[in-house]
Amino acid sequence: MVGITSYGAYVPLYRLSREAIARGGRGEKAICNFDEDSITMAAAAAIDCLTGIDRQTVDGLYFATTTSPYKEKSGATIVAMAADLKQEALTADFAHSLRAGTSAFMSAIDAVKAGSAKKVLVTASDCRLGLPGTAYEQNFGDGAGALLIGDSNVIATIEASYSVYSEIMDVWRAEGDTFIRSWEDRFTTTHGYLAVVGEAVSGLLKKTGLKPGDFAKVVLYTPDARRSADLAKKLGFDVKTQLQDPFFNDIGSTGTALPLMLLAAALEEAKAGDRILMASYGNGSDAFVLQVTDQIKKIKARRGMKGHLASKKVIDDYKQYLIWRGILPIEPRKETAAFISAPALWRERDANLRFHGVKCQVCGTIQYPPQRVCTKCHAKDQFEPYRLADKKAKIFTFSMDYITYPVLERPVVNVTIDFEGGGRALLYLTDREADQVKCGLPVEMSFRKLFVKSGIHNYFWKAVPLRT
């Protein structure tokens, strides 16, 4: 029996009020902090999804996005490292279509069915840009979803699927484009979204012999505030009771990630026996029938959609958003001679990306970064790896720098933190308000991007105040 064995989500802490973008805008959209991108969000969702799961048992990670920071270079491998998966895991990037999330989901199901993997972690993440002043800018939100596919302890089985493809220029982004291009709404809606998702859902119902009334929830991708409701109604679903809330006024349309995030939200509310229909969109549609099992009761508590939705900081500074996304230029860093070394990045990958410290096998002292000689007992080369990414910590001391880089984050908050269970690290504190920083503040770890230099996106871990 193949199906979903765990779910996770990530919604950035920051929400931009749509009113701040343009007068009359409704609700908020989730926006990445300056140090987040599709990869960091996917990593966060993956880690959320791995709550209570033995990492060693995960033998694949798929990463779906239309906004990978790299054109040539895997993002999945970075997400797999941040999620601390074993080296022999399958990894693959799914890209170029908003349907990439369900393409990855489908491939994971097939891989597990075929026996080439026992557990595959599917992540989907997006951070799309609409041109300032357009409805896309208002509609798009940032976020990530994750689903673990396996064949034991399944919380929702995959009963059937149905796919169609559709060649249409409705929304696209070509080489060199920063912002989405599109044809006019009346055309794209009629012959794109409504027609194509409708076709996939109808096809699926016909194939399975199921009727709209047989479903507890219908999870639909939506490009804007009301399109999924229009579609659900047209297909014979009751919008109020059956349609999964797309959280449009909380997050916005998160592209590739949206179907997975909404499915995670549906699973949070689901009970054994519920049937769920999920359909994506993007040059076609993948539709699925899922059946919730009684394993759903055993799933361990996690932040998920609910937790992430509840934990937020609304900003009403549109300029801040434009700066964070690089749309509005700011004072660049002065000429520097510093360079980043690919051999060093490679050498330090376990320390930097997996956030592995070491534990001395002689005296038990936990140390970060990894050492050759123990700082306490001076034993040489007698260490075992020690994972710090999931440890909570407290600020021991800090400084707030008003003149250093990155300019975006001034004051730059540097913290010395002590981990629960031992170990200390000096990190940046992000997603914080300067006036909340104090000695003793509880923090957790978050995978972030430090900077981009020579086309290298340098990822590392930062501390964030514990999200509640």
Binding site: K334, S341, Y368, D401, Y428
Partner: protein, 392 residues
């Protein structure tokens, strides 16, 4: 183990004007500092048998010194030990003379900080970690970590603690007005310091030292030779150097209310010099006040003040020119300026001049035992020197 006590004499010193010396390069500065030292010692450049050249971001290798002074094929080592580089340059020269491999050695430190944008080369040419995930090393933030924890540990309110730090700034600015070669010559008030723009919380503009160009040099020899050169040479009583091993960032026991590198270097230096009551026995101390908090903590780490009590001594005026133990009589790094590898030698220059009674307006009545102290680097990786000097 005999130690260095009384084996080395300083017979000549030079120090340039410190500041934003846009029209001089590092070789100009070296020439100015060294020729003052040669003249002071009454020797010619050709009398120098070995030399040590301290610089962090200003020129590579001993050839920079050789070509500036046209020293012909003598051995010159370049020394780099961050802000402790100047004193360490001097230390290496002393050990060479004490070993008997040469009679007259030159130690010179120089820095052209202001050729870098902003003055402090933020990109260390080789950071500790080439994958560049570590913090950058803005010094203010490093020392602010100490200030934050000190405040927290001893339960200080920000305003009250800031007032103490500001009193240190005011004292050093006052001393700087009497130091012609210093970068800044202007009195400030406690209110000015307290209300200055924040650099890195809790340290503001006046809590930070000047960033400068400059050079300082010393000619050293044995006491036997020194006696034939001049009467008022001064003797090295102790030289201590310690280096951190990353403890601050690895060990939760590292408390950020003290700099262990300083504590240990001071213990070694006092032992070598035979000093048992530093507060009574030391007449003046020129310490590394890169930030006001550094001077405050150093008062405790050098055993001048009991733990947690340095603020009381600051309030009591203990470390002013008229106080019980004058500290940073020449304005310190705060006002004299801080060309990294030159600073240690500038500190020795002040002790040397005070002991010879040539310190002008800021001359102390009693200057028989002098101490210099440098601490450079970042938390856990400090390089610290403590040196003691005395009269023959």
């Amino acid at each position: 183990m005999e130690g260095i006590k009384d084996k080395i004499a300083i017979v000549g010193m030079g120090c340039t004007q410190f500041g934003e010396l846009w029209d001089k390069n590092h070789k100009d500065l070296v020439v100015d500092a060294c020729y003052e030292a040669f003249e002071d010692a009454g020797i010619e450049p050709k009398d120098v048998q070995m030399a040590w050249y301290g610089s962090r971001e200003t020129g590579f290798t001993g050839t920079q010194l050789a070509s500036a002074l046209k020293l012909e094929y003598i051995p010159i080592s370049r020394v780099e030990n961050f802000c402790a580089g100047g004193t360490d340059t001097f230390r290496n020269a002393c050990y060479a003379v004490a070993s008997g491999v040469c009679d007259i050695a030159l130690a010179v430190g120089v820095e052209k900080c202001k050729d870098h944008y902003g003055g402090f080369c933020m990109d260390i040419l080789d950071p500790f970690d080439r994958s560049m995930v570590e913090w950058e090393l803005p010094p203010a933030s490093q020392f602010a970590l100490l200030a934050t924890r000190y405040m927290h540990h001893y339960g200080w309110k920000y305003e009250d603690f800031k007032r103490i730090l500001s009193m240190i700034d005011v004292k050093n600015h006052h001393n700087g007005t009497m130091s012609p070669k210093a970068q800044f010559h202007r009195e400030i008030t406690v209110e000015q310091a307290m209300n200055a723009p924040m650099i890195s919380y809790p340290l503001g503009l006046f809590d930070a030292c000047g960033v400068s160009d400059g050079s300082a040099a010393a000619i050293i020899t044995t006491p036997e030779i020194a006696k034939k050169m001049r009467k008022d040479y001064i003797l090295v009583r102790a030289l201590a150097l310690t280096n951190g091993a990353g403890q601050a960032i690895i060990q939760p026991e590292y408390n950020f209310i003290s700099i262990p590198e300083t504590v240990t270097a001071a213990e070694h230096a006092y032992k070598e010099a035979g000093i048992t009551d530093p507060r009574r026995e030391v007449d003046l101390a020129i310490v590394h006040d890169c930030f006001s908090i550094t001077e405050l903590m150093t008062m405790e780490d050098l055993q001048f003040s009991p733990r947690g009590k340095a603020p009381e001594d600051v309030e009591a005026g203990t470390f002013t020119l008229e106080g019980e133990l004058p500290v940073n009589t020449d304005g310190g790094l705060k006002c004299f300026g801080h060309p990294l590898s030159a600073s240690g030698l500038r500190m020795i220059y002040e002790v040397y001049k005070q002991m010879q009674g040539k310190a002008g307006e800021r001359q102390l009545k009693k200057a028989d035992v002098g101490l210099t102290h440098n601490v450079g680097g970042v938390c856990g990786f400090f390089n610290c020197t403590v040196a003691l000097f005395g009269k023959p």
